[in-house]
Assembly symmetry: C2
Homo-oligomer: 227 residues x 2
């Protein structure tokens, strides 16, 4: 019990402090101080700071992506082979994340903020791990969206997914960035309203008219066949 308690307390404190100050700028002394455990406990339970960081991500991310796949499964089962509405697909992918982010008590909110900023520029020792966790999920959701939006090429869907991740990341980034755009005019405490706003924005972007590209007009740019 004491063991689990210490491990969990370290993970919770680390998650929150990483969110606040960044991965590299957070010191083990801050973490162990906040968790009220001894400094050496991190190296005892996790081996190193880097492994602690990976564990902070693993703990939540596995759950998050499994959940996304499960909900997409049941959506596809219900549709029975027919394409699903784009709004429903987005509601699964981002809804699960935003629901986790709305759980401010359990630290989910903190984690989603951390994920957004780490995903943007992951240190090399988490990048591979992050890619592993995401590729399968993103593949499934891309396929579903391609099916749902026959007019939009797969490449464009991936780009718009990327943009949507950015919008969500900023939406969850907390009050700092928000205060720069809008002093005190905006209130991000209402998670449900934020969800509605973000969803309508993203859906508008996802279904926007295709951009006109100067280069090869319609066909995808293809690399030469290997010699």
């Amino acid at each position: 019990m004491a063991d689990l308690d210490t491990r969990a307390r370290i993970l919770d404190a680390a998650e929150s402090l990483f969110t606040e100050h960044g991965l590299e700028a957070t010191t083990l002394r801050q973490i162990t101080g906040a968790a009220a455990v001894n400094l050496a406990a991190v190296n005892y339970h996790f081996g190193s700071k880097e492994e602690l960081i990976r564990e902070v991500f693993r703990r939540r991310l596995t759950w998050l992506n499994q959940r996304r796949l499960l909900e997409l499964d049941s959506l596809e089962k219900a549709a029975g082979g027919k394409p699903i509405k784009p709004s429903q697909i987005l509601e699964v992918f981002f809804g699960v994340a935003l629901k986790l982010a709305a759980d401010s008590k359990g630290g989910g909110r903190s984690f989603m903020r951390l994920l957004g900023q780490t995903y943007r520029k992951p240190p090399e020792f988490v990048r591979g791990f992050l890619a592993e966790e995401y590729t399968a999920v993103l593949g499934r959701f891309k396929a579903a969206l391609v099916k749902a939006l026959p007019g939009v090429p797969g490449e464009e869907i991936l780009w718009r997914f990327h943009f949507m991740m950015g919008a969500m990341s900023y939406a969850l980034s907390g009050t700092d960035a928000l205060h720069i755009v809008a002093e005190d005019a905006l209130d991000d405490s209402d998670a449900e309203a934020l969800y509605a706003r973000l969803m309508s924005f993203m859906l508008g972007g996802l279904r926007a008219p295709l951009p006109t590209l100067r280069g090869a007009p319609a066909k995808r740019p293809r690399s030469k066949v290997a010699a």
Copy 2:
């Protein structure tokens, strides 16, 4: 000359390294090493690391925002009091930024990436400075958008501005995040195509149908009058 040379070399090296490793994780030894100047040169020319950071931002941001205001001025002058098309407004605000980001030789690309990640979570000693630089500009652009989109309330416009900044930030964040969504499927080297994609996405989001909020349906949530 030697002075200006050293100062400029430090600023350039710092800008690039801050982008690559983050503000706090970049050391003065890395910076002075890359700039091929003595370690003490930073403290001699800038006083401290914090003031160097502020100067890195000031150098580009002042130019960027002045440019935005100038282009909006001439747009409004040409319109002669009539509302401007939303696409034109976005093209000024984000176009100036993306044009700077397209200048990979001069370091503009690096700076815009840095700005996107710092804007998201600014350290306290740059937050105030960043807000100062932005409030006037954002006020002008918000006003122009409110005029251009009479159906969209000002609050919603600010939110969508926030989301658009997130989309742009991710769009410029480099290949790291992109490789997670799409292994090698996407190519961000074509700045013009990226601009077109991002612009159509953002315009779609900006003009999306308004979200239906459960709370007070139309009137803005107002805090109670102070006792």
